[in-house]
């Protein structure tokens, strides 16, 4: 995440007394450890691993050594990659950086945040959480002692590929014994959002079998390709069908199979059987003006490392209906 500072609309040339710091709150990660036997240990008994090779110190034996993963959690190390379908979460901290003996006082600190997206949507104002701490609502200002921090958290569902800009505006009033003034600054954080899953679909009509009713059936197949750099596990694929249609899931949920794990570049093929519900043919089904039957949308949910969630849905899927 690259960033730029804007000292917008602030005629004062002095450095600001308040700083803003951000950290993307992707999921915290389980810390890995490589337990080794201590050097100089006796050869005839199994020694406990060298304490320095364990991820943390525990008196209650909570460490699953010699296993690689340990239950202690690390805060995110870097920004990482942002993917469509994920929720972007970020913490914003406004800090009073004045020394404890400063004559100035910092009052009414406020943080605002907006996200600029690549599409036509332009800029969206972001809600700031948590709801109510420091005895103030997120909208209201907070007074900060020297060394004090106002922390806010924003969340944003990433829906588009491309350049995103998180704009953070901090305003505060700086008061001395005799005077006071309001100051504002703005910082921009830019990042690229990438595609996580490529979905390719195909619809084919099933020939009505001799003994079945006259309800028409289609097979909807979709290939889900993991085009991110992370391993993901597919959680669910669901079809949100239009009225008058029903569907049968032919995938892992239907037969209690394991949820598929997709490595980068791997593809999972899913399949649904879509069928007419209504008795009166064509009666309940709406066709588009160019003679297409809309099935509905396909939604795909997945989880990544340490439970990182992703969800995306396709556009409306459908098939051209041959005139009967």
């Amino acid at each position: 995440m690259s960033h730029q500072a804007y000292a917008s609309h602030d005629p004062v040339k002095e450095p600001h007394s308040v700083s803003v710091k951000v950290l993307r709150l992707s999921q915290p990660s389980l810390v890995t450890q490589y337990p080794v036997d201590p050097p100089f240990s006796p050869p005839t008994t199994k020694s406990q691993p060298a304490p320095a090779s364990l991820a943390y110190k525990s008196a209650s034996n909570t460490n699953p050594d010699p296993f690689l993963l340990s239950p202690i959690l690390n805060l995110p190390v870097s920004f990482g990659s942002a993917y469509v379908g994920e929720t972007f979460s970020c913490t914003l901290c406004a800090n009073n950086d004045l020394p404890p003996d400063a004559a100035k006082r910092i009052r009414d600190v406020r943080i605002e945040a907006e996200m600029k997206t690549p599409g036509l949507g332009g800029t969206q104002k972001l809600e700031l959480g948590p709801a109510n701490i420091h005895g103030a609502t997120p909208a209201g200002g907070v007074d900060l002692e020297p060394g004090g921090t106002l922390q806010r958290i924003v969340g944003f569902d990433l829906k588009e590929e491309g350049n995103h800009v998180l704009a953070v505006t901090v305003s505060y009033s700086e008061a001395t014994e005799t005077s006071g003034r309001t100051r504002t600054f703005r910082k921009l954080y830019q990042f690229i959002c990438k595609a996580s899953l490529i979905v390719r679909t195909k619809v084919s009509a099933l020939e009505p079998s001799a003994n079945s009713s006259s309800y028409r059936k289609w097979v909807l197949e979709a290939q889900l390709e993991n085009c991110s750099e992370d391993v993901i596990q597919l959680e669910k694929v669901v079809l949100d069908v239009e009225e008058g249609l029903g569907y049968q899931d032919c995938n892992w949920l239907s037969d209690g199979d394991k949820k598929p794990v997709l490595h980068p570049g791997e593809i999972e093929q899913v399949c649904f059987l879509v069928q007419e519900k209504g008795a009166d043919a064509d009666g309940g089904l709406r066709l588009t003006t160019d003679g297409r039957l809309i099935f509905g949308v396909l939604g795909i949910g997945w989880r990544g490392e340490m439970g990182c969630r992703g969800f995306l849905s396709t556009g409306k899927l459908g098939a051209r209906i041959a005139a009967r």
Partner: protein
């Protein structure tokens, strides 16, 4: 992905020679030791999945072993007539051992009074957690530049390997594992009987812990993580053979020793699979291991599911915990809440842990929850208290340094002060000296 475990041993050799595919291929023998006799064991996936489970290792349950008891020791093929002590002069070359960089040590440690002098013996250095100094001393002793005592005898396998293990293990403890992987290359093939098997006793001359560590270092050195999976299986075969021998000799303590080594190898295979991103293979493998009732396996499985993002399966592991391992169940459920972004619930669970029992993990995870809940000041206080109580894991220091970065423009000052505080801590086997990376300096 479990086919990795069932790879026929023919593939165990190096894959350097692609051209050889066109010719009739002879299995390379370089990584095969005298203990590879029982090749058939690795061919069926079902057998391989359960191989590392100690329960299946007693000869009574293993028909292939009872049918063909391998009483006669496999004969290595020393080309020259009589048995001679092995010469390890090739491990004493100074060019093997890299100088250790001081650049990544914060000044608070570099200039501390606690830095040991060159006269301190290695065992004391280890006891006080001076691993960098111990690694240096071990290399100096190996290369003969040490002042006290005579230079090292190239036939003294015991001393050479003890020093070499100290060197490599210490490098992994000071965040210099890649250097250790480079230096471990000097050992070449530890399975080479002509080099490493004693002609008279037929024992492997390198200590077990060195052979286990060498597996990971070699895989790193060659950039081939799958090699580790196979090498651990090789060692497992040897451990199983030793369990059988100990059982026959009614040597209970040896039997227990080898059983615990075998169990450890099983867990390490899972780790190696995770490192090669074969998470489902690792899960399948862990599922084949026997739980020892201490809750460690349940926790390991749950952590793997969480790593993959599958909280449902992780919760299943929690539900299988017995009453004795109630803590494990609580840990898993709290981590599941965090993976599901229910930080409020997770925080409550962490807070329920007994605060009297010192557990760095519980404190650190509680602080992480608070930061995700927008209560960074409280999180910071908890982390600082942990440091004040004498704890200093990499994770604790990293998280606290990250918190400082968020809380102040002048975070370098705070991180520097933290490094001074840690440098003033009591020396212990937990390790005293830290690196710049620990403090994000």
């Amino acid at each position: 992905m479990s086919d990795l475990l069932s790879t026929p041993p023919q593939d165990q050799g190096h894959r350097r020679n692609k051209a050889s595919i066109t010719r009739a291929t002879r299995p390379r023998s370089s990584t095969k030791g005298p203990l590879d006799a029982d090749n058939g064991l690795l061919t069926s996936p079902a057998a391989s999945a359960s191989q590392l489970s100690p329960t299946l290792m007693s000869p009574a349950r293993s028909p292939s072993n009872t049918a063909h008891p391998r009483q006669a020791p496999p004969s290595p093929t020393p080309q020259l007539g009589e048995a001679r002590p092995k010469d390890f002069a090739f491990l004493l070359q100074p060019e093997i051992y890299h100088p250790l960089n001081l650049q990544n040590i914060p000044p608070a440690f570099r200039n501390s009074q606690k830095q040991p002098g060159p006269e301190v013996p290695i065992d004391q250095l280890l006891a006080k957690g001076h691993f960098r100094a111990a690694a240096i001393a071990a290399a100096q002793e190996l290369t003969g530049s040490v002042i006290n005592g005579s230079s090292i005898d190239p036939h003294d396998a015991n001393r050479i390997f003890r020093l070499l293990y100290t060197r490599l293990a210490c490098l992994t403890l000071i965040d210099a594992t890649s250097l250790a992987a480079q230096e471990a290359k000097a050992l070449e093939d530890l399975n080479d009987p002509r080099r490493y098997i004693d002609d008279i006793t037929n024992e492997h001359l390198a200590p077990w812990e060195l052979r286990v560590l060498h597996v990971r270092l070699q895989a790193l050195g060659f950039g081939d993580p799958r090699r580790a999976v196979m090498s651990y299986h090789d060692l497992a075969r040897e451990a199983r053979e030793n369990i059988r021998k100990a059982s026959l000799a009614h040597d209970n303590s040896a039997r227990e020793l080898w059983k615990s080594r075998l169990h450890e190898l099983g867990i390490k295979v899972a780790g190696a699979l995770i490192e090669m991103d074969d998470l489902s293979g690792a899960a399948h493998h862990l599922g084949s291991l026997r739980d020892r009732g201490d809750g460690k396996l349940a926790l390991s499985k749950a952590l793997l599911w969480l790593h993959l993002g599958d909280t449902r399966n992780a919760k299943l592991c929690a539900s299988q915990c017995s009453e004795d391992t109630e803590n494990v169940e609580k840990i898993i459920l709290a981590l599941c809440d965090m993976a599901d972004s229910n930080y409020e619930l997770a925080l409550q669970k962490w807070q329920e842990f007994d605060i009297m029992a010192v557990d760095e993990m519980v404190g650190v995870n509680q602080a992480v929850c608070l930061i995700y809940l927008g209560r960074i000041q409280e999180g910071r206080t908890i982390l600082e208290k942990l440091v004040d109580s004498g704890l200093s894991s990499h994770t604790l220091l990293f998280n606290l340094s990250t918190t400082y970065e968020l809380c102040s423009e002048r975070n370098r000052l705070l991180k520097g002060r933290l490094s001074e505080k840690v440098a003033n801590m009591e020396e212990s086997p937990f390790g005293w000296e830290k690196t710049n990376a620990d403090f994000k300096l």
